[in-house]
Each structure stands twice: as C-alpha cells, then as structure tokens.
Amino acid sequence: MSSPLFRARALHKRFGAVAALAGIDLEVARGETLSIVGPNGAGKSTLLRIVAGLARPSSGGLELGVEREWRAAIGYLGHQTWLYPELTARENLIFTGRLYGMPDPAARADALLEEERLTAAAHRRAGGFSRGMAQRLSIARARVHDPDLLLLDEPYTGLDRRAADRLTERLSDLKAAGHTLMLVTHDIVAAGLLSDAMILLVAGRVRARWRGRELDAGTLEARYLELVEENAA
C-alpha cells in the first residue's frame, strides 16, 4: 500500500455509558476505496462523521496527509442530500462553492452539472428533483471543492435498483479517476465491487479486514453474515 492519505489510531467515541467506537485503527491510501460495513448500530456513521470533522472523538488520533484545512479536504455524501429545495441545482452548487471560497464557483458548478448529466435541469429547483437526480446533484455538491477524501455515508438509502446501479457506476468512475473514497454501506455486494479494502465493524470494533481477492463477491456476503452472527452471539 502507498503512503496513507488518512490514518486513525485508537479511535474511541462514547455516548454516556455506550461505547460507539472502541479503539478503531485504520488507514486509507491515496486513490484507494475503503468500505466500512456492519450491522445497524455498529458505529459506521459515527466513524464517518468523526472523520469529516462533524463530531469529536472521545480519544484517539486522526491524521490527514494534506496541506489544506481538514474540512476543506473532505467531501461528504450522505443519505440526506444537504441540498436547499428552494434553490436551483446550479444555485446549490454555486452556494457550496462560495462556502469553500472557490475562485469561480459558477464555472465549477456548470462543469459538475455536465459531469452528472444534470445540465438540462440546472435551473430547476432542487426540491422538485427525483431521489436519483437529487443524489447525483448531491455527488456534485460533495465534489465542488475537489476534496482529497470523499466520504459516502449510506449513499444507497432510498434509491431504487436502477438508481442504485447508476450510483455504483458513478462511484466506479470517480474511483477510476483517482478519487479516494470511504464508503459506509449495508450493500455488501456493491461495496465488494467498488472497494480495494473493507472493514467489518460490529459494536464499535473492527472484527474483520478484507483486501484484494478476499473481496470476491461470491464468498464475501456469506462470510459477512457468518461473522456478524458470530459477534452478535
């Protein structure tokens, strides 16, 4: 593995008496896709929100190998779109570009709308978009400032099969273009197709790490279910 872009060491997060994360160690290399899978309540979204800077860890260290400010280096796509329904698609992207101090947010917005095949809907209000269109606009929003690390929190939530397939294609394109991705999902098959590495999180602890051929879709799901049941017992 090349030098890590992101590293977490002994990460802990407690909510009162509950340990949401109990000593997480992980690394993500530049250009790599890491998936985080696990059952509900495993701490996956908490981990991602800490990496984003939206929550503070109770203890442990985080390192991001970039020169710019942490939050400026992070892009975040969740199952919520973070879009303003009264603004048009283009205005949403320009707004985000301005928040990040982009020199020409309008040009960047137009380029991203074209990449996401949303140019025809650029001047329509985001509130009238279908879930699939909103998700594509949300991907553009997360990429406005050209982040070093793109965090994806359950991006398949609420998407129908066709929209989910399109999202997988789009994420594959981003991966092929050299983007570094961290993906939290329940869709173990989609995650296996996209990922260079995968960790299984159960009750705030890493229970398994898979990489390369271990991510073969034929056996991955069975091993995942086996491990989740074993750890639940």
């Binding site: 984003a52 969740g78 973070w82 329904p85 009264e86 985000t96 928040l99 990040y100 101090g101 929003r141």
Partner: protein, 222 residues
C-alpha cells in the same frame, strides 16, 4: 466573512421564493395588534402613546420567535446544517450569516408592524422614525444574535418549538427593559436615555461574541 455573506444571500433568496417565514411573522404581528386593540377598549390616544412601546416589543419578540424557529429548522431539511458545519473556516461566520439574515427579515416585519400599530392606535410615529429605527435596530441585533445561537442549540431537539421560547425569553428580559425604555423616549420625542442605549449596545456585543464563539461547538454532533 465571505461565508457570512454567502449564507445571508442564500437565506434571503430562499425566503424571497418561499415567503413562508415573513408571511407567518407578519400575520402573527397583525393579529397581535388587533388583539391588543380589543383587549384595551377604553384606552385613549394619550394612553396608547404610553402603552405602545411595551405592546410593540411584545409583538416584535413573539413574531421574531416564529421566524427564528423556522430559520434553523430550514437548515435541518435534508440535513443542510451538516453542510454548513463542514464549511472550512471558523463556524462563527456561519452564525454571522444566519444572524444577518434573521436581522434583515425581523427588521422588515418590525417596520411593517410599527406602521400597523401607528395606524390602528392613531399614534404618529413619523416624527420619531429616526430615533425609533435606531432603538429597534439595536434591540433587533440582540434578538437575532441570541435567537440564532439558541435556535441552533434547540433545533435538533424534539421539543424545539417549546425549547426556543423557554431559552430565549429569559435571555431577552434585560434587552427588553432597555428597548422599551428607549422606545418610550423615542415615541414621546424625548432624548434617548443614555443608560438604555448603553445597555442595548453592551448586550448586543455580548450576544454577538458568545454566538460567534459558541457556534463552533454547537454545530458539532454530541
């Protein structure tokens, strides 16, 4: 500072298109004016001059509460608040942007409300307009700043509609004391009381500084 202007422009554009906040605040203020009119049937013109400052600020505070509650709730739709929290730089500029937008919208509603009160109660406020505008602006800075801060604290709670008034009203008591005092002087064409103006400026300063610094923590998850 560009983050603050960006948020101000976004909020005003969104409000221009939906008009839901300003309309609800205006309707509420007008209903309060009518309610006061019928609640005090025996009041004479000179009584209204005395009563007006208190009634006006009562209407201002309660209509502002409606707008403040909605201001942060709009950011929760699609969890856009997390998008603001993730913007680089000090999150205090997010606070300034939201406070500026709230200040503009509340001020607009206050101006219309003052005109309605003047018409309904037969009180001439035109001569007092400059002094009144200064006092109302100072009071509104305080309401918008502490309201934005407490609104952000309350917004993720299930009881946010109840929580914001419970948190905000006690914080506004000292401000209201100064604002009503100074408004009475403005309406009666007397010199503005120095102590009241000083109190308003000090409270505004405290609320702005606390809000600017506090937003960096408030926008984060638990």
């Amino acid at each position: 500072m560009s983050v603050a202007w960006t948020i101000l422009r976004k909020d005003l554009l969104g409000e221009w298109r939906s008009r839901d906040r300003v309309l609800s605040m205006l309707i509420f203020s007008l209903l309060m004016a009518v309610a006061f009119f019928f609640a005090l049937p025996d009041a004479r013109a000179e009584d209204w001059v005395e009563l007006l400052p208190g009634l006006l600020w009562t209407a201002y505070v309660f209509s502002a509460l409606l707008g403040l509650n909605r201001s942060l709730a709009l950011e929760l739709e699609n969890d856009a608040l997390s998008g603001l929290a993730l913007a680089p730089g000090h999150r205090g500029f997010v606070f300034l942007g939201k406070t500026l937008a709230n200040f503009v919208l509340i001020s607009f509603v206050e101006a219309v409300t003052a005109a309605v009160f003047a018409l309904l109660f037969g009180v001439d406020l035109l001569g007092a307009a400059p002094a009144l505008a200064l006092v109302v602006a100072l009071g509104t800075i305080g309401i918008a700043s502490i309201g934005t801060l407490l609104g952000a604290m309350a917004v993720r709670s299930r009881f946010r509609e109840v929580l914001l008034p419970i948190l905000l009203l006690p914080a506004l008591f000292p401000l209201l004391a100064g604002a009503v005092d100074a408004t009475r002087a403005a309406v009666l064409a007397l010199p503005l009381p120095f102590e009241a103006i000083q109190l308003l400026i000090v409270i505004d300063g405290i609320y702005l500084v606390v809000g600017f610094l506090g937003f960096d923590y408030i926008l984060l998850d638990e």
